[in-house]
Each structure stands twice: as structure tokens, then as C-alpha cells.
Symmetry: C2
């Protein structure tokens, strides 16, 4: 039983498509439905590739709006860490469920996630139907003995993530070079290589991290990761603000993906801006992420792509930096093989959106510009992942129940 | 016949209100409907003051997405000015109608506007039901003879704006110090003072404007305006990025309002950031605006208030700059008497919103933080201006017709 969409528009052409087995099995001016197919009449709607949120901590919907506007360390030490100490596994399940609803409502169908209780997040992802590159955060606070203790459990946790079916792609999630010991990082590099697993890590988010890394390890963060074998085409580096030209060349050569998180970087006042023009010249794979909803405070890639384009133009003093089409391709994960955002084509994953063109923000002729600069999530009517309709008419099943659960749990955690 | 709203929530309290004659005539835990009153059951909804868009060119919805990512002068000279040369009065009517729909859908009920064909904009505002401080742009391109010719017509145009009823407040709209001659600016200052009319003008948007003003007039822009009598409590200064401390003190002393437009400033890569921390210390009246929808590219104050908070934190390198409650008060026009954004109280204008709390972005306990950092326009369910319900369930009457008209006209103008 497949899914057929008829009457949609793509780049000004009428388009239909048929999905089966999670893939697009035909796409063109017309397709022939098979008996038993579900048919969506998308007359007048715009067909579009969905967004890939390249870096987030999705269950942190639980801590949205908790301790905003505080200095970074005061926020972490006084608010977030004490609240996280109270986390129960079920909290992560419900927090991730809410994140999934919010992502669908703003056109995101795939995300790269790092948080605690990965099996709960995986269960939430399966129940939500989205696609994820999921990790369980690894932190030994630079304590090698603690690292030794944690490793077996970490491997087991990653292996368990492999049991949640094709939409959950397991990965390692070492937190950062300033929170994970050299020995643990080396073990993760080796284990991930053996099993061909992706690795996601925060890198070069603050200037202090760079200075501390040089002092502790004699190298800048990206060079240090490379010494440990952690810079590969299976690596996602979140932030990458303070990468210098030598590091950018190294990252490009190794094929790692850098994911920029402009809204969170501005909100947390880290000071710098991801050096997009230099990263582009170096030929790096680039993605876009919202970071966690407690430091953004949402998971809206339509808002993020505008923040990305605007801060890059502002920082460069040049309106022509990062034109809409490039910003959009990056937000769709199309500038990184690891993020896997593709074009809509036969044989590709059946992940797509139907946009409602009858809204004021889509009044102009240039859809790329409208999506980057004018549109909000309201334009996303329908979201499909692996051929399953997860949102239609902006309604996601179970939203009320999930919201009520998260409110109750958030109140307990933040009280 | 009045309007009664029951069952809403404000700051955690149950609240009802009754509107009559355009004002709130009672507000409290319960109100007594009069015979013939329209009653809205707002059970569970959040009552909130609406946004005031402090600076825009609303009919430029016609040029949304036209020539994005081009250098500023190439965009103006190659795209916008040739298209504006084709403007017909009816275009401004329909462009403003679309802007009004878009504003309501993102919670704005009042706006400060500068554009051509002011009577058409006024007619659109009356048909839309919003509140506006409206001007007809005045440009003599520094040509005193041309200025002499234009003045009678300009006065007549402003006087005509006075005939559109209580929701349209007429004002003068001299474009900027680099496009209006000294003689015309002095005449506007004098005429506006005689008639107690507000004046809106672009000021200190680029560094070049400041340098040119010093060269041409021997003073920085704000000091120059003051010499001409144009800095009064009836003056809105749009942008104000390059105001130095002496100018900030002067603006504060004169009681003028500075309206910042962060998204457009970043998108047009003007380089600087409105000096909010210094402006606040100087005690200036401050507003927030989207600028025109061809340089933003929308009119969404919920998006703008986030851009405002984020760029200020980024620029200051300090998370605690511009906390959510302050950003929100500014976006609501509550930090400027001229912008007139008030609290919801007996005797105040019956302008308010009802927000839908059953959305993921409002999951946390802190409504101010959620509105600034997480919410999009989707949360606005109902918009009321002067006691008239202009949007309910996110539906604005006439939307389809207006959108179709604007698309047709935009295609003609930009072809």
C-alpha cells in the first residue's frame, strides 16, 4: 500500500508522486495509483523538500523559557543542571514527543539529537514517525577513571539505539573537548570507526574553549579531534564559530559536517559568528540547527534559516552573502551527505512537505526568498516521512495529550 | 452595542472585559453584558496587548522577494525604484490591505507607515480596521525649487488623511536628511508644530548618512534635525543606528521616539546595531518596527522582537541585555507615548489579542519568554481593534481576494 500525491506544484510545474516502502517510487507530471494506495489531492499546494535540523537537544522542550536572559554559567549551574538532575526517563520521552510535533509544524522531518536517556528519545521518535541521527550524550568531565567506568554502558546505549528500526540512526555523542577525556574521545573514535557509526560533538562554541584546548592539549579543537581520529565524514561538529583557516581546511579535507546554530549563539551571546564565507571557500559540508529549545527557544527551521542569512549578511557587511537558495539548501541538509537532505527524486526517501500558497507571506514570485525571509511555519500544511503522513492541515495526532504531559513534567522539573 | 469577552486569562488570573465606543469600559473577574452585546467565549485563551509596528512601508508587500540579496544601491536603483515608477494608486490600496492581513495574523493592530498615495493607504486601513499613524512620503531630492512646488500638495495630502476617521492619525513623512532640503524640512517642522501633527523620518541608518550630513550641514543628523525644530515629542526617528551619546541625550531631552528595525538592518547589511544599552541609559522612548516587507521580508512583530533581543545580546556579548519583558514592552509600543501602546485597562483603547495556549511553543511557564523567543504568529487566534473583531480563529475576512489582487499587481509591477 503506497501513498500518492496529485496536483502539487514544484518549480512552477504540476507534479504527482507515489511513495512505497518509504521511498519515492515515481515522480512526474502524472503517476498511476495502485490498488489500496492512499491518495492525497494536493491541488494548488507546493511540494517542497523538508528541513533537517542539524543539531538539537530536543527533549529540552521541558526547560523552554526556564532562566532566560541569565549569564551562561548562571543559567547552566543555577537552572538547567539542577533541573536535569531531576530528569526521569519518561520526561525525555514526552519532551521529545513535543519537539517532534513542533518540528513537523515548522517543516522539519529529520534531526540530529544529543541528550540523555537515548532509548526514550528513540521510542518517542518511533512514535512520532520522524527520522533522526540520535546520540546519547557522553560526559566524563575529563576524569579518565570515570570514563573507564562509563564506556561499556555508553556502547550498550548506542547499540540499543540500533534496535529502533530504520528511522533511528545511532551515533556517539561525546559532549565536547572540555568535558570528555582524551582517552574516552580516542575510544569513541576507534569504536565508531569499527562500527561505521556517526559521531556528533560540540566544537568551538566559545573562544574560551579554544584557549583552554590549546593550553590543555597543545592544539586548537579541530586539530585535537583530528589527532584522535575523530574528524571523519561521519562527524557532525556543532557550532564551529572559532575555527581558523587551517582548521577549516582540515575539516574540509576530512569531510566532516559543521552545523551552525545562529539563534542560540546570539541568544547566549557567545560573541562570534560562524565564518560561513570562509567555510564555504574551504569547501566544507555545512548544516543548520536550532540547538536545544531551552537556548533558542524553539525548533523552527524557517525562523532559523532567516536568522542564519541575516547574521551572515550583518557580519560580512554585505547583502549578497548567503543568498536565499544557498541558505535553504543548507537548512534542508542538502550541503552534507551525512545530514542526508536530498532532492525529491525517484528512489529518494519519501520525505516531503506540502506548503499552502494561500498565505500573505508567500505573495511574491520568488519562493526561495519567501521561504527564507518571509514565511513562518504556518505555510507548512502537510508533512510526510518515509511515505507516512505525519501532519495534514497542520494537525498532528496526539498533540493535546503530549502538551499536557510536558507541562506537568516541566512544572515538576523546574519547581 | 458592545463586545464582551469572557473566560480569558491575564497573568494567571481569570479575566473578562467589555468594550464600547472603541474603548474598554470595564475589565475584571466578571463583567455584565448589555442587551445586544456580542459575546466571545474565550475560555482558556490568553488575553494580551497587541504589537505596534513602529516603522514600515506596508504597501511594499507588492515588492516582497523582488531583488533580494543584491547590494543596497543595486537593489534600489535596479529593482525597487523602476518598479515604484509604475505604481498606480490602486496598487497601494491592495498592497496595504495585504499588509493589514499579515499584521493581524501576527498580532499587530497598529502601525506607523510612510509611503506614496496616502489616501489609498488610508482607505485600506479603514477597510481593514487597524489603527495607523500614517504619512505620505516627502522627497524633494535636496532641490529647493522642487520642494517649493511640492509643499502645497504635501499639506493637502496630510489634510486629506485627517478625513478618514479616528483610526487614521495623519503625520508628515519627510524621507530623510539626505533626500529632503533644509528649507522643506524647516517648513515641515513649522507646519507640523502649528497643527500639532506627528512627523516620521528615517535617521542615521547608515554611517555614510552621518558623514554626508556633517559635510553638508556641519552637524550630525539628530543635531541637524534639532536645529530645524524637528526633534519633538511628536517625532518618530526610524533606525537611529549611528546616534552618538550627545545625540542620544538630545533625543531623550526632546522626547522623540527612536524605532529600531533589526531584521531589515541585518538583511541590508548596514553594518551597525541600534545602541539599545546606551539609548536606554539616555532615557529615550523606544519602539520596534519591521521596516517595509521588501526589506525584511515580512511584517511579523513576533519574529522581529526575537531578532531585536538576539542581535542586542550578540552585539553586547551579554545574555542579560534586553530581557524578554523589556523587549515585549517595546514591541507593544509601551515605551513611547507617541506609539501609544497601552496596558489593558478601563478607558484604554479596546485593542487586544487572544492567544491560543494549546501550542508547543507556549509550553513553558514564562509567557514573556515564550512570546519573545519561541512563539510565531500561529499563537494569535483573535485580534480586536477599537472593540471590533478583525480576526477570529486566524481567519481575516477577504484574505483570498486581497492575495489574488496583490499577486496580479505585483506581477505587473515587477515584470
Amino acid at each position: 500500500m503506497g501513498l500518492v500525491v496529485t496536483g502539487a506544484q514544484l518549480d512552477g510545474r504540476d507534479l504527482a508522486l507515489r511513495c512505497d516502502g518509504g521511498l519515492i517510487d515515481s515522480i512526474g507530471p502524472e503517476v498511476v495509483p495502485q490498488p489500496g494506495d492512499e491518495v492525497i489531492d494536493a491541488e494548488g499546494m507546493l511540494l517542497a523538500p523538508p528541513f533537517v535540523n542539524g543539531h538539537t537537544h530536543s527533549a529540552m522542550t521541558l526547560f523552554r523559557g526556564f532562566g532566560d536572559d541569565l549569564p551562561l554559567m548562571e543559567w547552566l549551574q543555577g537552572k538547567i543542571w539542577p533541573a536535569e538532575a531531576k530528569l526521569e526517563p519518561g520526561d525525555v520521552y514526552w519532551g521529545t514527543r513535543l519537539a517532534a510535533i513542533e518540528m513537523l509544524r515548522s517543516g522539519t522531518t529529520s534531526f540530529v539529537d544529543m541528550y540523555f536517556h537515548g532509548d526514550q528519545a528513540a521510542r518517542a521518535v518511533v512514535d512520532s514517525g520522524l527520522r533522526t541521527l540520535l546520540s546519547v550524550v557522553f560526559l566524563d568531565v575529563l576524569d579518565t577513571a570515570k570514563g573507564d567506568e562509563l564506556r561499556a554502558g555508553a556502547l550498550e546505549a548506542v547499540e540499543r539505539l540500533g534496535e529502533f528500526g530504520p528511522l533511528v540512526r545511532p551515533s556517539f555523542g561525546p559532549h565536547a573537548v572540555y568535558t570528555v577525556s582524551r582517552k574516552s574521545l580516542a575510544w569513541i573514535a576507534e569504536t565508531a570507526a569499527e562500527r561505521e557509526l556517526p559521531v556528533q560533538i560540540h566544537l568551538s562554541e566559545t573562544e574560551k574553549e579554544v584557549a583552554d584546548c590549546i593550553e590543555a592539549n597543545g592544539s586548537r579543537p579541530a586539530a585535537y579531534l583530528d589527532e584522535l581520529g575523530l574528524l571523519t565524514e561521519r562527524t557532525v561538529l556543532a557550532h564551529g564559530i572559532w575555527l581558523d583557516d587551517a582548521e577549516l581546511s582540515l575539516v574540509a579535507e576530512r569531510g566532516s559536517t559543521v552545523v551552525t546554530n545562529p539563534a542560540a549563539n546570539m541568544k547566549l551571546a557567545v560573541g562570534g559568528v560562524f565564518p560561513y564565507p570562509r567555510a564555504r571557500r574551504a569547501g566544507i559540508s555545512i548544516g543548520l540547527g536550532t540547538d536545544g529549545p531551552s537556548s533558542n527557544n524553539n525548533l523552527d527551521m524557517l525562523e532559523e534559516v532567516k536568522a542564519f542569512a541575516l547574521i551572515q549578511k550583518h557580519d560580512a557587511g554585505d547583502t549578497s552573502v548567503l543568498p536565499a537558495a544557498d541558505a535553504l539548501a543548507i537548512a534542508r541538509g542538502q550541503r552534507s551527505e551525512l545530514l542526508g537532505g536530498g532532492e525529491l527524486a525517484e528512489g529518494a526517501n519519501a520525505d516531503f512537505l506540502l506548503l499552502n500558497p494561500e498565505l500573505p507571506e508567500l505573495s511574491a514570485g520568488d519562493l526561495d526568498a519567501d521561504l527564507v525571509y518571509a514565511a513562518t511555519g504556518s505555510v507548512v500544511d502537510t508533512a510526510v516521512v518515509a511515505g507516512r503522513v505525519l501532519m495534514r492541515g497542520r494537525e498532528v495526532e496526539g498533540s493535546e495529550e503530549v502538551l499536557a504531559e510536558v507541562r506537568e513534567r516541566a512544572a515538576r522539573l523546574t519547581s
